[in-house]
């Protein structure tokens, strides 16, 4: 199983060797040319990272980087994974691609189906990896891409699939020679990447992290489908009682949650892990063994824009340890991470028992 990691201009090219030695087999990067940002600003990214420091901004930087990566016998992929491009954006994107066409990328990571068609129409034969933003939630969806687009390199499975669902997809895909990639870690939003149409990034906070969403109000619904008949007979007290009841339930739940979340105080050893736990965010590492057995080809460590080089390298080494261990049981993974607090059940994104 390969490890694929995202990097950006906050990581100096000299670090590539360290990343490679730590275990990275493939790197992926984003490129935003000045011509793009002068037209669309930072809010409308061509690769779903709305920040300058999550990307490379010049052809020279990329030429140098790709050469270093290839000299280290590693692969490098370019992300072109915005959900939607209109005609003008596609033209702009192809001008950017034209500037870097001499750079031998090993694959593109693409979400938007129209862009895939345009890339092939332009005669570009670079393999296309199907991004999480494509919503390949079933084997049939994968089949849609593979039957309509030539030279699909790999398909990234969405993070929101349960392990059982991934198993079903992988059984068919692997049998048909389709390579799969999964997310290994980092924070997973509760909304689906490919179906979230809210703005993200820069001065406009993402919807899910906005004060508006964080301070959401919970309401209980009073009526069912026949409310038009019942409202005239419903005493107003019911409404107020229900409101009080909901508030009490919320309070009870919050108390329960805080009780159940109570875990032993964090020890010194765990404290020393905090810098890598911040990189990990949410974690799918316990599932890697099963994913290897299913024949999944690569695990993604999306570190684009993560500035702490030391923590990044430690995380990559951790993933490498798990990938290389012939029997990486959940216990093995938890021991390797060595943070009982982190592994108390709230940070897993594949191995949660109730979804399987």
């Amino acid at each position: 199983m390969n490890i694929i990691a995202g990097i950006s201009n906050v990581n100096s090219p000299e670090l590539i060797r360290s990343y490679a030695e730590a275990g990275v087999d493939e790197f992926f990067i984003g490129y935003i040319a000045d011509s793009w940002s002068q037209n669309y600003g930072w809010e409308v990214s061509c690769n779903r990272r709305e920040y300058a420091n999550c990307n490379y901004l010049s052809v020279e930087e990329i030429e140098n980087l790709v050469s270093i990566i290839h000299n280290n016998n590693r692969k490098v992929l370019l992300t072109l994974n915005a959900h939607e491009y209109n005609n003008e954006q596609i033209k702009q994107l192809f001008r950017m691609l034209d500037d870097i066409k001499h750079i031998p990328f090993d694959a593109f990571i693409v979400s938007n189906f129209a862009l895939m068609l345009e890339i092939r129409k332009a005669g570009i034969e670079t393999p296309i990896n199907i991004s999480i933003g494509s919503g390949a939630n079933t084997y049939e969806a994968i089949n849609f891409y593979t039957t309509n687009i030539e030279n699909i390199g790999r398909v990234v499975l969405p993070r929101k699939l349960t392990f059982n669902e991934m198993t079903k997809i992988a059984e068919k895909a692997v049998k048909n020679g389709i390579k799969l990639e999964v997310f290994g870690l980092t924070d997973a939003c509760f909304f689906n990447d490919e179906y979230c149409f809210s703005w993200h990034g820069i001065l406009n906070k993402s919807f899910c992290n906005s004060p508006m969403y964080k301070n959401r109000i919970t309401n209980s619904r009073l009526f069912d489908a026949n409310w038009k008949q019942t409202i005239s007979k419903t005493p107003i007290e019911l409404y107020y009682n229900k409101k009080i009841q909901v508030e009490q339930e919320i309070q009870k739940l919050k108390t329960k949650l805080s009780f159940e979340r109570t875990v032993p105080p964090i020890g010194n050893e765990e404290m020393s892990k905090l810098h890598i736990l911040n990189v990990i965010g949410k974690c799918g590492l316990c599932a890697i063994q099963k994913l290897k057995e299913l024949g999944v080809d690569a695990v993604k460590v999306p570190l684009r824009g993560f500035m702490s080089t030391q923590a990044n390298i430690e995380v990559i080494k951790l993933v490498k340890t798990i990938v290389e261990e012939p029997d990486a049981t959940p216990e093995f993974c938890q021991k390797a991470l060595n943070s009982p607090n982190f592994c108390s059940g709230n940070n897993c994104f594949y191995n949660y028992p109730h979804s399987n």
Binding site: E84, N86, K121, A141, W199, L203, R216, K256, N346, N356
Partner: protein
């Protein structure tokens, strides 16, 4: 003339269609406060339809509907089983309407349920299927070829964020020359989509897709006029109203809310349809269109945009009496 369709997600609402579309006297005072946004919007939108029909055609709005969309777009758990689809088809046919089956994005288990329904509907005449997942289109293209694929609104992935529905947002000026020009360009990205691209349209057409779904979003009137002119995309356009989709996830936050230990992934067994009991509402310091989270999805109320849109001749208005959850 715009064709009028109803989109319903629950069999009970279909069974009592008369009541679903009924305008009642506005409850007075405190009683009005008892209603959720969903119920209030039902009445406000029906009143708008009623006035429009009376003024434009001199007839009752309820006589104007021709087709019923049935299903849901965001949740595996809410995919109707085959028995429900059979019942829905029967009711719709008996009432003299055509049927459009609406499907969500889904994983392998959900797709199996959808396929059972497709298999039943494929035996019938003039049934359309709205797909919001390429896997569903693949099935329609290769296997259920009698059904007519309609591209769902979740497949046109331009931004529609309630926070910026009435208030502007900020453009960062880091290393940029002309932020005024950029703001204009950014606006264009929420108006135009990949449907502008010929090859994309041709591929969809080659798979028999001959209709696409879109939403009411608060564009300026001249944009709407340009955008929805006939044949812009060579597809007839469905416009959904009064609920515009914003986002959703297989990690249902409403279900998570009622779980112990803060489980954030209740996509599976822990769902007992909490979406039917609870909802989230939002307050913002900015002026915006009201929004609500029912189950795993957030919806924006676009009732007030009706007059801005209805004068332009798009092909179908897909009226949602309630949030499709």
């Amino acid at each position: 003339m715009t064709e009028l369709c109803i989109y319903i997600s629950k069999i009970e609402l279909l069974e009592s269609l008369g009541e679903t579309l009924e305008i009642i006297q506005k409850p007075e005072g405190d009683k009005y406060a008892m209603l959720s946004l969903n119920e209030k919007v039902n009445q406000l939108s029906l009143n708008k339809l009623s006035v429009f029909f009376k003024q434009k055609f001199g007839r009752d709005y309820r006589a104007g509907f021709t087709r019923i969309y049935f299903g849901n777009e965001t949740c595996d758990r809410l995919i109707p089983d085959r028995k429900t689809i059979e019942k829905a088809y029967q009711i719709i046919s008996e009432k003299g309407y055509e049927m459009t089956y609406v499907t969500p994005y889904t994983g392998p288990e959900g797709l199996t349920k959808i396929e059972e329904n497709l298999s039943f509907l494929n035996e019938k005449e003039n049934v359309e299927v709205v797909f919001n997942d390429w896997g569903v289109l693949q099935l329609l293209d290769k296997k259920y070829t009698k059904l007519e694929p309609v591209m769902g609104r979740l497949m046109v992935k331009v931004k529609r964020d309630p926070r910026f529905s009435k208030s502007g947002y900020s453009v960062h000026n880091h290393a940029l020359d002309r932020t005024d020009k950029i703001a204009k360009r950014q606006e264009e990205t929420v108006i135009n989509s990949s449907l502008d691209i010929k090859e994309y349209r041709e591929l969809l057409q080659s798979k028999r897709v001959d209709r696409v779904g879109m939403e009411m979003v608060p564009y300026d009137e001249d944009v709407i006029k340009k955008q929805f002119r006939k044949n812009k995309w060579e597809f007839p356009v469905d416009i959904y109203w009064p609920w515009t989709y914003v986002t959703s996830g297989r990690n249902c936050q409403i279900a998570a809310y009622t779980q112990p230990a803060g489980k954030i992934h209740p996509a599976g067994k822990n769902c007992y349809l909490q979406c039917q009991q609870y909802e989230f509402s939002f307050n913002s310091d900015k002026e915006m269109l009201d929004s609500v989270q029912r189950g795993n999805a957030i919806w924006m109320d676009t009732t007030e945009l009706f007059e801005r849109y209805i004068k332009y001749d798009f092909d179908r208005l897909i009226y949602q009496p309630y949030i499709p959850v």
